[in-house]
Amino acid sequence: MSDNNKKWFSLNLNFSSKQKSSSDSCGCGKTTGGCNSSTDNDVSHEEFLDAAVNASIGEERRKDGFEQVFDVKMDRRTAFKKLTASLMIGAGAVSTSCSMIAGEETKEKAQIDWEEQFKGNYKLMTDEEKQGTVDRLVRSYQLRTGKNISMSSKNAEEDVLFGYAFNISKCKGYMDCVNACVEENNQDRDSQMQYIRIHEMKEGKGFNFNEADDNYYHEVPAEGHFYMGTQCFHCDNPPCVEVCPVQATWREDDGLVVIDYDWCVGCRYCMAACPYDGRRFNWSKPEVPEEEVNKNQHYLGNRMRKKGVMEKCTFCVQRSRAGQNPACVEACPTGARIFGNLLDPESTIRWVLENKKVFRLKEDLGTEPKFWYFMD
């Protein structure tokens, strides 16, 4: 761990100078194992440095939650107040981690839990801090289940803006996309959480969602019906992001609207603000059978969630940022789903937008979805 990767309890009120010096050392911020020693981190060294430089543009983006607070000039009185508060919490930490009875692993678990409980908001973390929390989560999973997972913290790439198009003529309602999504994204099996809804609509009635059925159990395609899928539309002007009181959800530079599950307080204001039913809440502890867990994970994507937090479609960030199509696109047997980079003039999605008569849902709300519908 480098100097600037201090945790909140190694309190140092004047370490802003140290922080600067470390930015010219290795970008990944690790002293052991060299850069990118975690095998699944497919960011190259240059990209990593680039991102680090990027991150250093805004002073705030470099700090995690506690550093955002402590790394400020303050008078003695406020410093004292904050010190007392943190000392009280710190005493608890010491007593858990120094307990004589607990074994090494229990101690490590407690230590990880502790750091995870009091870490900052992912959106404001430096790349090193992102890697730090990902390492902790991987280790924690290993300690708990004995299994290894890989988790990425890959940032948005430059000149990428993801978009999605849905061909209403082609969709036959097979729901393969829904199944693939659930499996890919480790959604709660108990409550049968699904990000995608397929609405079965009657021919000749237009797009009448009121009379559509999004919970059908019969052979498809049903006579006289057509199908239309909805999910999170990754709006360019997302109302859900505006309303979040703690900035636990935000729009990434490649257009993905993501959630930091560990920062979310579960107030469900975003759920009320979304006009597209794009967000889901974990009403109970999400359960995924161990053998069904998708172990290729991303911090902002399909890693395991907990009870009482929001989640949503991320266009499979763990796949899309690795150059793959989201699971729903890959699973669709009819080719109704098209995904790609809107900034790439050669992409299929751009061809669709330029050559088809596309439309979006509830455009009058000013949300600017990046999800278009079209017909052959």
């Binding site: 999004d214 309303v243 703690v246 469900r268 009320a272 009403w283 009870k307 009482g308 929001m310």
Partner: protein, 405 residues
């Protein structure tokens, strides 16, 4: 040092007062404690199992908790209706009532905060919301505004009465120069907390039922009807059970405030109904669901059709001077008005906002017993807090509690 000593003695005396009393008083406090314990048990179940033990679901994602929160913000804001004439307009009539009103505001605010916490999916990470330690989405999120507004209002409503009581406890007059600026601030702040709470809903383009310019003003009108109505009822109880003197004149004046607010509230209701039903659009579906049901689903109909007649009846009773000046009629009118507004502005406002859902799906909502248990527990906590505050305040005001050097 002197201040700390006096304050210590005040706390000691007040603990002495609240732990001693008549049999009736002890019975009341025991009852509240019991309900609070039941509420705590229900909350522990909710903490263990998650919010799935409530009636809320993916479609109706806010329910009884947020409904009560919304209503109680109004009750808290209404304390200002007593503060303004007393401290700002120098109308001494209300002086005895104002401490009670502020006590009520404090209790209502504590209930508000408790309801918000009860509604949270992750209460263990609530520190993310604390300004300073967490990351606050200010000024974008109305919920962030609300956290600041509510806590600020709580602070004002604790400090002003505390200062006045503290002076009276020592047998000194409270200096107007000290508390008048605070009183002025609280007048604006009260309007602020209620507008901000209304904006919380009003600002959502996804919910046409709330996305309505009248919501904020209507919140204020209904608050200034329901809040003082509750204060009248509380003053009536205090008058009969304690030696604390509250003149008829005071109650009559508050009744006038209730009347005017209830009338304005009714006018706004008519305006809203006209807009929804004269030329109904796709956006009127929530109102249709609330008043008439949609596709055979009508869980809220009995509630709203209780609330509207009660509301109208109370307003009519209050409008006639002869009826209003008869205290029996007045108390009855205040009671039904309070109930009517609790229904109308509680789940009569919150739940239909989610029905029909984003794509027209109708999923109904009914609170579970766990949810009702937590809700009753929080109401009992509010009553408990208020009883303690009022008992101390009354003790000081009638001169029973005095600092002995």
């Amino acid at each position: 040092m002197e201040v700390i000593k006096v304050f210590g003695s005040l706390v000691k005396d007040s603990i002495d007062t609240i732990t001693h009393g008549s049999k009736k008083y002890h019975l009341w406090m025991a009852l509240l404690t019991f309900v609070m314990l039941v509420g705590m048990y229900c909350y522990s179940v909710q903490l263990e199992e998650g919010l799935s033990v409530t009636g809320m679901n993916d479609s109706v994602s806010w329910g009884l908790y947020i409904s009560n929160f919304t209503f109680l913000v109004g009750v808290a804001a209404a304390a200002v209706i007593l503060v303004m004439p007393t401290y700002v307009l120098k109308d001494v009539d209300f002086k005895q009532a104002v401490l009670i009103g502020e006590g009520l505001a404090v209790a209502a605010l504590i209930m508000c905060l408790a309801f918000v916490v009860a509604d949270m999916g992750g209460p263990s990470v609530l520190w993310h919301m604390l300004p300073g330690i967490g990351v606050f989405n200010f000024p974008n999120s109305m919920l962030a505004w609300d956290v600041i507004a509510l806590n600020g209002y709580l602070l004002i409503n604790i400090t002003i009465p505390l200062y006045i009581l503290f002076r009276h406890y020592q047998g000194k007059e409270a200096k107007p120069k000290v508390y008048i600026p605070g009183a002025f601030l609280s007048v604006f702040w009260a309007v602020g907390i209620h507008l901000v709470t209304a904006f919380l809903y009003q600002g959502l383009q996804a919910k046409p039922f709330w996305n309505n310019a009248l919501l904020g003003p209507r919140f204020l009108a209904s608050a200034f009807a329901a809040g003082p109505a509750l204060i009248i009822l509380v003053l009536a109880i205090i008058r009969t059970h304690t030696p604390f003197k509250i003149e008829d004149k005071t109650i009559k004046k508050i009744a006038l405030v209730v009347t005017v607010a209830a009338q304005i509230n009714l006018i706004m209701l008519v305006s809203e109904l006209f807009k929804e039903f004269y030329a109904p659009t796709h956006h009127s579906e929530s109102a249709y669901y609330l008043f008439f049901g949609l596709h055979g689903k009508n869980a809220l109909m009995p509630w709203i059709w209780t609330a509207i007649p009660l509301n109208v009846l109370a307003t009519i009773l209050l409008t006639f001077h002869k009826l209003r000046n008869n205290f029996k009629v007045l108390f009855f009118a205040c009671f039904i008005l309070f109930v009517a507004i609790w229904i109308e502005k509680g789940f009569g406002l919150i739940v239909p906002g989610f029905i029909p859902g984003s794509y027209g799906k109708i999923v109904e909502y009914a609170p579970t017993s766990i949810e009702i248990g937590v809700t009753l527990g929080i109401w009992a906590m509010g009553a408990f807090v208020f009883t303690i505050l009022a008992r101390t305040a009354i003790g000081i005001e009638i001169g029973k509690l005095r600092y002995k050097k």
